[in-house]
Each structure stands twice: as C-alpha cells, then as structure tokens.
Symmetry: C2
DNA sequence: AGCGTAGAGATTGTTCAACAATCCTGCAAG
DNA sequence: CTTGCAGGATTGTTGAACAATCTCTACGCT
C-alpha cells in the first residue's frame, strides 16, 4: 500500500471506485431475485397476506429452489416477507399496532437526526441537501401529472435522504426497513392522493428550514408532521 | 373465534401458549446451527476478522452446506457476520466509528423509552420491572465471584429488558442487533472488570429510579450513563 | 347434521453431489 | 519490484431426491 502524494483527491477518487466495485459485486442470483420480488411487493403486485409458492417462483425467476430461499431470507430481514415454518413465506399483513410502532420509531430517529444536525452544522459540506431538494422536486413533478404512487416513493426517498444526513450506517439500515414496511401499508389504502398530497408542501417547508439552518424548528415541524401522517394512515386504515 | 368471558386473564394465558408454540416451532436445522454459531461468536470463541469455512462447519455442525448458508444469512441479519461475495463469511471487525454509531443509536432509543414511560405509567402493570431487578441482582452476584463476562451479559440483558418496557417489537429487534454488535466489541478489550464494574451500581440506581417513577431523572441519568460507557469503550479500544 | 379422524396429495425442510465462477497463492517473466 | 499466468481451494448455484409437515377430502361415528 504505497500512499501517494495528493491524499485528499486520491482518497475521494478511490472511494468512488470502491462504490462502483461494490455495485458490481452486488450481482448474486439470490440478490437479483430478491430485487425483483422487492419491487413486486413494494409496488403492490403481491398483496399483503399473499403466499409465495416456491416451485412457482423458481420457474418465473429462473433460479433454483435453494437460491430462491436465500432471496426469501434476504427479504425477511427487510420485513417484506414473513416465514411460517412448514407453511411457506407470506407478504405480512400489518395492522394498526404496526402503524403506531413504525411511527414511534420514525419519530424517534428522524427527529433526533434533525436535532443532531445543529451540533455538526459546521462540518456539513455544501450540497449535502441536494438529494433532498431533488426528492421534493420529483414529488412536485409527479403530483402535477397525478402519479400519486410516484409521489409516495419520492416522499419516502426524502425521508431516507434525511436520515442519511446523520452518516450512520445503522440508522440507514433501520430506516430502510421501516420505510419498506410502511410501503406495505400504503397498498391497503384506497386513496393515495389524500395520503401523499399534503406532504409535498410540508417536505418543501422542511427542506427550506434545513437550508436556513433552523434545525430546532425543523425538528419540531417534523415531529408534528409525523404525528399527522400517522393519524392519516390510521384513519384511512380504519375506513378500509 | 369465540371471545370468552374473563378477557384479561384469558388473553395473558393465550399469549404464553403462543410463546411456547413459537418456541417449539423454532426448531429448524438452520436456526439451531445459527444458535450454536451465535454463542460461539458472542462468547468470543470466534474472534473478529475470523473466516467461517463452509466445509469445515458442515462437519462440525452436521448440517448440509445449504442449511449452513441459511444459518449464515440469519446471523448476518443480526450483524454478527458479514458476507463478502465469493470470499466467504467473516466475523465483523468493528472500529471506533462503529462504537460511536452504536452508542448514538442506543442513546436515542433507550432514553426515549424511559422518557416515554412517564406518559403510559398508569397502564403499566405491576411487576413489569421484575426482569430488570433480576438482571441487577444477577450482575451483583456474578461480580462477587469475579465472573466479569457474566456481569457483562447481565448488564446487557438489563438494557434489553429496559427497551422491552416500550412494548415495541421493532425496538426489541433493533436493540437485539445493537447489543449483539456491542458484544462483538467487548472481546477486543482486555480488561472486562474495569469495563463492566462501574455499571452494576448504576444499573441498580436506574432500576430504583424507575421503581420510584422518577422517569425524567432516570432518562437523564441513562443519557449520561451511556455517554460514559461509550467513552470507556473508546478508551479501552484506543489502548488495545 | 355435526364432529372427530385417517389418509392422500401437496408443500416445505434438508441433504447430497456436481459443476461453474471467483478468489488466493506461488512462480516465472519482464 | 511489478505484472501476468497457471493451479488449487473456496464459494455460488443447480437439480434431484427424500423426509417432515401441513391441508384438504372423505369416511365413519354419535
């Protein structure tokens, strides 16, 4: 390992390469199969409660049973599937208690991230908020053409990027899981517009508060935001 | 589903039965293998950085390679193993950044749980704190006979039960993961006594504050407690 | 008719053996 | 000292087979 001259530039370059390598390495049959299944589940093609037959899916995905089962395990970790011994794997059916549980976690984590930004404000490089801005604009654009599921995913990505500001790999992992489960809930709700529309503007408001470095107010807003969102889902859920 | 008379007692009984059933169902070869490996890792038999050879372990655990790989997947979910594609599975090597990350999460979650207890104090049934008391006493007993690793596990169980007070399945899962990773860190530290001893008394203090329903003070104490613990691990880590 | 039971069929859990793909090691060449 | 290339070892994946368990239907009993 010879450490060359321009350390600063060198390291950054190496990191981007490492990221690319990781992306290439990602190709394992089990993970590819999991990717396809993940999309089917999060997009609602597989409704909650549905059973995933092994032999059926081996034919569709063109992988062996063992590999398929590895894909199942991967998705189980993300909360997108549940195993029932000797019965098979199913898309989980979440209920109101799960909504409350999920939102409790979301509030704790997201609000803490925003609040924590105040302390490490100086070390935050410029342009760190760009992904958030892109998500806000994506949601606004999708709303203009009435693509409400797309609005939903853009909103979710906003929160994912928000958590990402904390630079905590474990928070990222937890959030990924929480949001995946949340997506599961969206599909049992009949009115995606009412569900997502109010939060387009609120996300923009949040983004602008962050850009203005008003972290304390952003945290307070986010807290109320998540309470309202939880309430909305609970109401839509009870009216199912 | 006929809902009988004494709902309160009935439900509790049904839950214990359901727990037993789940425990029996737990018997899958992959999970049994995972149990054995989990113990080997958390008890330090497998040091961080060690590679787990497939053919070797199939002979020791007497399971097929496929089943063993399922066990590997289970443990990667818990953070006790990491996969490197085409290279094998390894016991992760955590560094100082991981310590900071882990403790950040611990502080957020545990402090929030304690603080949240204030609001739902009335609905907390009596005896809910008994597991905590048992853990405190177990740690004190182990300390008397100089069994410091046992003190460490008792202390950890204390925090696990603390989180359990929130009745959040997802918090329980996250905490399980966090503490498992923390255990990984303990084994690279040479002085288990200095590491665990101070927290025996602090756990008792915490327990007594909870019993006295002084939740706000308990939360504040816990926050400082976790900061101190983090500092201790970081110091021991830098002096490795 | 209602209820419990036995057995057939289907599905999952697990094993085994084989092959393909990739990584690591050591050595030779520049 | 680095580069390139075998060769061996390990992981990734497959397919078939068998055991264990669940589900469903049909039967017999009260």
């Amino acid at each position: 390992m010879s450490t060359g001259g321009a350390d600063e530039g060198r390291q950054a370059w190496l990191r981007t390469v490492a990221a690319d390598v990781a992306r290439l390495d990602r190709s394992s049959s089990a993970e590819r199969a999991a990717d396809i299944l993940r999309r089917s589940i999060t997009e609602g093609a597989l409704p909650p409660g549905a059973q995933l037959s092994e032999i059926e899916l081996t034919e569709v995905l063109e992988v062996s049973r063992n590999t398929l089962r590895e894909a199942f395990r991967l998705l189980t970790h993300e909360g997108l599937l549940v195993y029932k011994l000797h019965r098979g794997v199913f898309v989980p059916e979440l209920d109101e208690r799960d909504v409350i549980d999920l939102y409790r976690l979301r509030r704790v984590l997201e609000v803490d991230v925003v609040r924590g930004l105040a302390e490490r404000d100086p070390e935050l490089p410029a342009g760190r908020l760009e992904p958030l801005q892109a998500d806000v604009e994506a949601a606004e654009a999708a709303a203009l053409v009435d693509r409400w599921p797309a609005v939903g995913t853009a909103n979710m990505r906003f929160h994912e990027h928000l958590i990402g500001l904390a630079d905590s790999t474990r928070m990222d992992a937890m959030t990924g899981r929480l949001l995946a489960e949340l997506r599961l809930l969206f599909h049992v709700i009949a009115t995606p517009r009412e569900l997502h529309e109010p939060y387009i503007a609120r996300n923009r408001g949040l983004y602008e508060l962050l850009e203005a470095r008003k972290y304390e107010q952003a945290a307070a807003d986010l807290h109320q935001y998540l309470l309202d969102s939880e309430q909305g889902i609970l109401e839509a859920f009870r009216a199912r």
